[in-house]
C-alpha cells in the first residue's frame, strides 16, 4: 500500500519512505507530534462545544413558523376514497388530500421522506405509496409501513370551516 502513502509524485529515484516521513527538515515532517494531536483535540472539542452552545441558543430563541390558512376544497367535493392534490404552505410544496371516510379528510405532503419522489394514494391497499423505492405510508397518520423512508410524511392539518376545508398547519 506504499503507493497510497507516497503521495502523487511517485517514482523510482525517490528517497526511501522512512527518510521522507522522518525528514531532517521540520518543514517536511509528516508525522503528527503529541503536541499537535493535543492541539487538534482541544480545538475540535472547543469547536464542538461552541457549536452546541449555538444550537442551544438557537433552539431557545426558536419561533414556530406561522402557517397561512388556505382553503383547499369544498366539503363533499371529492368522493370517499378520492384524492385532491394541492399546494401548501407555498406553491412548491405539493400535498395530497384523501377522503378516507364520510367525514374524514387527511392531508399529507406529497414528498416521500426518502428521496422526495411524489407519493400517490393506492385505494386498493388504503395506503400512500412511493413508486421509486416502494416506500409505503399509512393514511391514518403518515407512518412508514415499509420501505426505505425513515420518517413519517408531514401531515397537513385540515379544518372544516362551514362548507370549506382549510389547511391550517404542517406537522412533522
Amino acid at each position: 500500500m506504499n503507493w497510497l502513502r507516497r503521495g502523487s509524485s511517485g517514482g523510482t529515484a525517490r528517497e526511501p519512505l522512512w527518510k521522507e516521513e522522518f525528514s531532517v527538515r521540520t518543514a517536511d515532517e509528516r508525522y503528527v507530534t503529541r503536541r499537535q494531536l493535543t492541539k487538534f483535540l482541544v480545538l475540535t472539542s472547543l469547536g464542538m462545544f461552541v457549536g452546541n452552545i449555538w444550537i442551544l441558543i438557537r433552539s431557545l430563541v426558536y419561533k414556530a413558523p406561522v402557517y397561512p390558512r388556505q382553503p383547499v376544497a369544498q366539503v363533499g367535493e371529492i368522493p370517499v376514497g378520492g384524492v385532491k392534490l394541492f399546494s401548501y404552505p407555498t406553491k412548491d410544496d405539493h400535498c395530497i388530500m384523501i377522503r378516507t371516510g364520510e367525514d374524514e379528510y387527511v392531508g399529507y405532503s406529497q414528498k416521500c421522506t426518502h428521496l422526495s419522489c411524489a407519493v400517490y394514494y393506492s385505494q386498493a391497499e388504503n395506503r400512500l405509496e412511493c413508486p421509486c423505492h416502494k416506500g409505503f405510508f399509512s393514511t391514518k397518520d403518515g407512518a412508514v409501513l415499509q420501505g426505505p423512508p425513515s420518517r413519517p410524511l408531514p401531515r397537513i392539518v385540515l379544518e372544516a370551516r362551514g362548507e370549506q376545508l382549510v389547511a391550517v398547519e404542517v406537522k412533522g
Partner: protein
C-alpha cells in the same frame, strides 16, 4: 531571515575566548559554551580558531541520527538534539565532518551551536558575534563582508563529500571552495588547512 549571514574567519582569531564566555550566556543553553575552539599547531605557534556550527544544507549529524532528534528548521538552523528523543548514542558527534556536536554526558544529550536561536530569530546577533573583538566571528550583511580581502565561501569538500553550509568561511580570494583531505592532513609533512581540490 533578517539579511544577516554568519562569517567565520579563523585567521582573525586572537584566542581571547570571549566568544566562549558569551556563548555561555545564551538562553538556549545557559552555562554551556557551544563554541568550538582549537589551537592550531600549538607547539610551534599561538594560532587559534574559534568557530560555530556551519549549519549544513544537508546536515550529516541529522542524517545519521537514529532517533530523529536533530532537526533543521525552516530558516536553515540545525538545532540541538530534542531532549525527549536524544538517546546520547554519539552518532552525530562521530559523523559531523566539522566535529561540531558536543555530547553532554550529565544531561545525556547532544548539544550544539544553534546560532543563538532565541536571538537570531528576532533579528539580534548571536552572542559570540557581538563580543568578538577581532570579528573572527561576525554576523553581518553580505555587502559589509565584501570589503574584506578574504572572500566568503560555503562550499567544503571532505574527500568526495561535498558540503554546502549556511555559515560562511572566509577563504583566500582565489579559492572557490575549501577542500580538506583528512587523511592527508594527518601526515605531518603534508598538512595544509586550506588545500586545493584535485
Amino acid at each position: 531571515m533578517f539579511g544577516y549571514e554568519f562569517y567565520v574567519d579563523p585567521s582573525r582569531c586572537i584566542g581571547c575566548r570571549s566568544c566562549l564566555q558569551a556563548c555561555e550566556e545564551c538562553d538556549t543553553h545557559r552555562g554551556k559554551s557551544m563554541i568550538n575552539f582549537d589551537f592550531i599547531e600549538r607547539k610551534e605557534s599561538i594560532r587559534s580558531a574559534a568557530y560555530v556550527c556551519w549549519h549544513c544544507d544537508e546536515p550529516t549529524c541529522a542524517q545519521v541520527c537514529p532517533a530523529d532528534a536533530i532537526k533543521k528548521g525552516e530558516d536553515g538552523i540545525v538545532h540541538s538534539s530534542l531532549k525527549p528523543r536524544c538517546i546520547a548514542c554519539n552518532n552525530c558527534v562521530l559523523a559531523c565532518p566539522f566535529g561540531i556536536p558536543k555530547m553532554m554526558i550529565p544531561e545525556q544529550q547532544m548539544m550544539k551551536c544553534d546560532m543563538c536561536y532565541d536571538r537570531t530569530s528576532i533579528g539580534k546577533r548571536p552572542m559570540c558575534a557581538t563580543v568578538c573583538p577581532s570579528q573572527a566571528l561576525s554576523y553581518v550583511r553580505p555587502e559589509e563582508i565584501a570589503s574584506r580581502r578574504e572572500k566568503p565561501t560555503n562550499i567544503f569538500y571532505f574527500g568526495s563529500q561535498k558540503i554546502t553550509t549556511k555559515v560562511y568561511m572566509m577563504a583566500p580570494a582565489e579559492r572557490e571552495a575549501i577542500a580538506l583531505d583528512v587523511v592527508d592532513y594527518m601526515w605531518e609533512e603534508n598538512h595544509e588547512l586550506v588545500a586545493a581540490r584535485q
